[in-house]
């Protein structure tokens, strides 16, 4: 069953792109939507079936789903489903839609394989699959700013790739294998004296910090998120950065190199700087999508701080924030896409009073921002509480205070955004606007419902999906 998560999207991809036939192309969109929905439901409602399948041989290598993979698979399926739905609105050309759906299927296969792989080189290969798909998707509408953003992302990503590949090469030199278990065993054997292991971790870690868009490696992120076509912004902010950067950080720390003390300090420091710097940059930003991009940097900072804290509760909280951020940031980017769809701008200076004309978008935006700011009972509150609690009880009081302050800043910049975009008198020229169509409303409703439901039913989510991640620390 686990291998079908990689094989199914590839099979569909091949069938819908058979060169001699035209009719399968029409199936590209519905079959992609079906796969995304099926994966989400499987991961959320049947996580044990995936985990108990254990390690299975797949195409001469081993793949495995653990609690962290399952939460990631759920996030991937949900975000891709919403991206595909909103893509129907933004890519109306029937010639273009199958290409978009096909690229989403390539992304699905790449991300699933990255999440399930148990080999460092395979991780690298599938991160690249996701990265190449992302360049293409950013430049999908072929407008100049998007092309420039794609090129900027490509340039910095190439640097990250070089670092990752260097990390793999040095891991082979030090451990003699690329299997995560083998590298873990070698790093435990050599301990703090294994200089090559530390060098491999440093290179791999540096590459992943770039991919995660943490300060000061964030240069590519605001442009890529804000200049990409609206559905692609949802994809990048919702899941791509998380899988190719943050998830990989979790994986290499948990499964390959272990919690090396110096690397934990690096994660805590860069995470804390990102929380503050991202939030401060978001306050001063006038473009809705760019503001959300800076907010993403800040929120990813929380996840990385939770990982660096290295206690089971903080780790589980960080992984839950990974999921929550995928959901509420996708929601906020769908809100931005809805505004772009109606007002043809995301410049907040040209917007105002939109809640009169777009009440549903305004209401779901409130759900997203409150969850981002960590207001109870929404899902973001619980994940931040777990991270803060973990930091405090591990003795990192300073970092806990920074994280708390960051949350207040988050509430501040989101309220400013809400006031500028949705509250007050309607701006001239926007009086004729109406609510977005059914497809975007369904996307918003779905993501808002997940945010509310995973907050209200937190005990179930905690027991089923989140707490098992904390146990991964005990290897």
């Amino acid at each position: 069953m686990v291998s079908s998560l990689i094989l199914a999207p590839i099979a569909v991809l091949v069938i819908v792109n058979l060169p001699a036939l035209r009719w399968p192309k029409k199936l590209a969109y519905p079959s992609a939507l079906f796969l995304f929905a099926a994966q989400t439901l499987l991961a959320v409602f049947s996580p044990k079936a995936l985990i108990y399948a254990g390690e299975t041989s797949f195409l001469s290598l081993k793949i495995r789903a653990d609690a962290l993979s399952v939460l990631s698979l759920a996030s991937i399926g949900l975000v891709l489903f919403v991206v595909a739905l909103s893509g129907r609105v933004f890519f109306r050309d029937r010639q273009v839609r199958p290409d978009f759906a096909s690229l989403l299927l390539v992304a699905l296969a790449g991300m699933n394989a990255a999440v399930l792989a148990t080999d460092l080189f395979s991780l690298y290969v599938f991160i690249e699959v996701v990265a190449i798909t992302s360049y293409l998707l950013i430049a999908f509408d072929k407008k100049s700013p998007a092309m420039a953003a794609a090129f900027q992302y490509l340039a910095l990503s190439a640097l990250a790739t070089t670092l990752l590949l260097g990390g793999v090469a040095i891991a082979i030199l030090s451990a003699g294998t690329t299997s995560l278990d083998g590298i873990y065993a070698a790093s435990q054997r050599t301990g703090s004296s294994g200089l090559l292991t530390h060098l491999a971790l440093a290179l791999f870690g540096a590459g992943l910090l770039i991919k995660s868009g943490l300060v000061p490696f964030h240069g590519w992120l605001p442009a890529a998120y804000s200049k990409a076509p609206a559905p692609v912004s949802v994809l990048l902010a919702g899941i791509v950065t998380k899988i190719s950067g943050v998830y990989m950080l979790f994986r290499v720390v948990l499964s390959a190199f272990g919690f090396q003390p110096w690397f934990r300090e690096v994660l805590l420091l860069f995470g804390a700087i990102s929380i503050v710097a991202g939030a401060v940059a978001a306050i001063g930003e006038n473009d809705f999508k760019k503001m959300l991009a800076y907010s993403s940097i800040s929120q990813v900072g929380y996840i990385v701080v939770g990982l660096g804290c290295a206690t089971p509760i903080a780790l589980a909280g960080a992984a839950f924030h990974f999921f929550n951020h995928a959901v509420f940031k996708a929601l906020l980017f769908v809100n931005a896409a809805s505004i772009e769809n109606r007002a043809s701008t995301t410049d907040m200076r040209e917007l105002g009073g939109l809640s009169e004309r777009m009440p549903f978008t305004g209401a779901t935006c409130v759900v997203g921002l409150l969850s981002a700011a960590g207001i109870p009972p929404l899902a973001g509150f619980w994940s931040k509480l777990m991270i803060l609690g973990g930091l405090w009880y591990a003795g990192y009081h300073g970092y806990a205070i920074v994280a708390l302050g960051g949350s207040l800043l988050t509430l501040g910049y989101f309220l400013i955004m809400q006031k500028k975009v949705f509250f007050g008198k309607i701006k001239d020229g926007l009086g004729g606007l109406g609510e977005v169509g059914r497809t975007l409303c369904i996307s918003q409703a779905l993501l808002a419902s997940v945010t509310i439901a995973s907050g209200i039913f937190f005990p179930w989510v905690l027991q089923t999906l989140v707490l098992p991640i904390g146990t991964l620390m005990v290897k």
């Binding site: 195409l59 290598l61 690229l103 290969v125 293409l136």
Partner: protein, 176 residues
């Protein structure tokens, strides 16, 4: 490369210059031309040539699969994408070009230093008997890819598919 101690390594059994040596020299020349030429298009052609020579070397080293990948992806697909990119860019003025070169030089000076430090660290701390290179594990690229790294081949295929979609997207635009 040679069995007799008196024969230089770059000559074959008949005393002629060895084909592998010629290929290595050609590889070196092509790569130097690629990085030293001032024109982007020539640089792209040089890169394609470098890949083609490397592919020939890989075929001679009995790694045909790696040769095919090198030829199809690096010499063909990548060159096509580069040529397309060059076609949509503008030439810099001489002043801009020299300013850009100075800036590049300023930014990239730590790279050789970093490479040297990493190399020293690796060679000082390398594991003497690394199981990865021990006998029993195939060093044949074909066997390595087909028998031990099939999952990675799937990744490579996905990269190729993404490249194909990219080319289709660009041609659709060209038709408009």
């Amino acid at each position: 490369m040679g069995s007799a101690n008196t024969r230089p390594a770059y000559r074959d059994a008949h005393g002629k210059i060895d084909m592998d040596t010629l290929l290595v020299l050609a590889l070196l020349l092509a790569s130097v031309w690629t990085v030293s030429t001032a024109r982007l298009l020539r640089s792209v052609i040089g890169l394609g040539l470098t890949s083609a020579v490397l592919a020939a070397a890989l075929f001679r080293l009995e790694a045909p699969l790696a040769g095919v990948f090198e030829l199809s992806v690096c010499a063909a697909l990548v060159s096509v994408i580069f040529v397309m990119t060059v076609a949509v860019t503008q030439r810099l003025t001489k002043d801009d070009l020299s300013a850009r070169q100075r800036q590049m030089l300023k930014r990239s000076w730590p790279i050789p230093l970093l490479v040297a430090v990493v190399a020293v660290v690796i060679f000082r701390h390398r594991t003497p008997a690394n199981p990865f290179f021990a006998t029993g594990i195939s060093t044949d690229v074909r066997s390595m890819l087909w028998n031990e790294r099939q999952l990675d081949l799937v990744g490579e295929m996905l990269v190729l598919l993404a490249g194909a979609f990219a080319t289709v997207m660009l041609f659709k635009e060209a038709k408009k």
